[in-house]
């Protein structure tokens, strides 16, 4: 049986087709999911893709978080289904309280699009097992609201439990506290990050690297061996 990975389209999602392509490049079966449909169509994992769902109106991710599909995703994620939130997807996951903290406007107030170096801090999550801890990867970063914030206690907790999954290297691009680029929940099935691994899966396209493919091969291996 092939592994089915769903990618949700909310109104204003932009990187859904890219995420579906990344799933396919990794060798899994991509399944488009629609925000109004509670049914996850028997997928084994879900990707919340980047974009500006609902125009980032109110707050990034704040309206999508209440869509019908999220009811099921929240329930399933709590039961252990792997969920990856990229950029706007990460924002949705924090708004849904599946991950702690929140995302605010970049400290320099500009949209920023660049190739970003990251360090993989936790290579034991469902989405990072194909990397090694401490590995440096390069993937595109592009966002307006990418500044990760949480209170000190939460940050200390994340650090202590090894739940900071990725950290920015070579300069913090947005003022994120403790250079945090991505985090995981305690169980390691829900991961969110601001940079875009789905844009780094084919040589020649984008920045021309394939450092992002590991996210999708990680989950595929995990689901196949599970």
């Amino acid at each position: 049986m092939t592994t089915r990975i769903g990618v949700v389209t909310f109104p204003g999602t932009l990187d859904d087709r890219d995420a579906l392509r990344a799933v396919r490049v990794a060798g899994a079966e991509p399944v488009p999911l629609w925000h109004r449909d509670k049914d996850l169509h028997q997928v084994d994992a879900v990707v919340l893709a980047g974009g500006f769902s609902y125009g980032d109106y109110l707050r990034a991710g704040a309206i999508s978080r209440f869509s019908p599909v999220m009811e099921t995703i929240i329930e399933q994620a709590k039961a252990g289904m792997p969920v990856l939130g990229i950029c706007n997807g990460f924002q949705i996951l924090t708004e849904a309280h599946l991950l702690p903290g929140a995302m605010l406007r970049n400290n320099h107030l500009h949209f920023i699009c660049r190739d970003q170096k990251l360090r993989v801090e936790n290579a034991q999550t469902s989405w990072t097992a194909d990397y090694s801890a401490g590995q440096e990867i390069s993937v595109p970063l592009k966002n307006m609201d990418g500044r990760y914030v949480a209170d000190e206690r939460t940050l200390d907790e994340l650090e202590a439990e090894g739940r900071v999954a990725f950290r920015y290297l070579d300069g913090n691009p947005n003022g994120s506290l403790r250079d945090i680029a991505g985090i995981t929940n305690a169980a390691g099935n829900v991961v969110g990050l601001m940079p875009h691994p789905e844009h780094a899966v084919e040589p020649l396209i984008g920045t021309g690297g394939t450092d992002g493919l590991g996210f999708f091969t990680s989950i595929l291996k995990k689901l196949v061996t599970a």
């Binding site: 109110l58 707050r59 704040a62 209440f66 924090t94 708004e95 702690p100 903290g101 929140a102 605010l104 406007r105 970049n106 400290n107 320099h108 107030l109 500044r147 914030v149 949480a150 209170d151 003022g175």
Partner: protein, 81 residues
């Protein structure tokens, strides 16, 4: 129809670069003596029916779960007649 206003502000400890940008611009524009600027959001709700305790409780819940993200923001509900 009665109007209920919900003001949403970033919590004091959260960095507000937009507010800071406004504050930095003020002296340039000749406005002196402003020590700090914080930027927030104001929601004006036109309420159908009476604004009684039950209606206010619903609005409070709406603000807490949706209009504000209480991880980073505080809110105040005010009734305007």
């Amino acid at each position: 129809m009665a109007r209920v206003v919900v003001d949403v502000m970033l919590k004091p400890e959260i960095l507000d670069p937009q507010g800071q940008a406004v504050q930095r611009a003020l002296p340039r524009l000749g406005f002196k003596g402003i020590a700090d600027v914080r930027q927030g959001k104001r929601f004006e709700l036109e309420v159908e029916g009476p604004v009684d305790d039950a209606a206010l409780a619903r609005i409070h819940e709406m603000a807490e779960t949706f209009l504000a993200n209480t991880v980073i923001e505080d809110f105040v509900v005010k009734v305007e007649s």
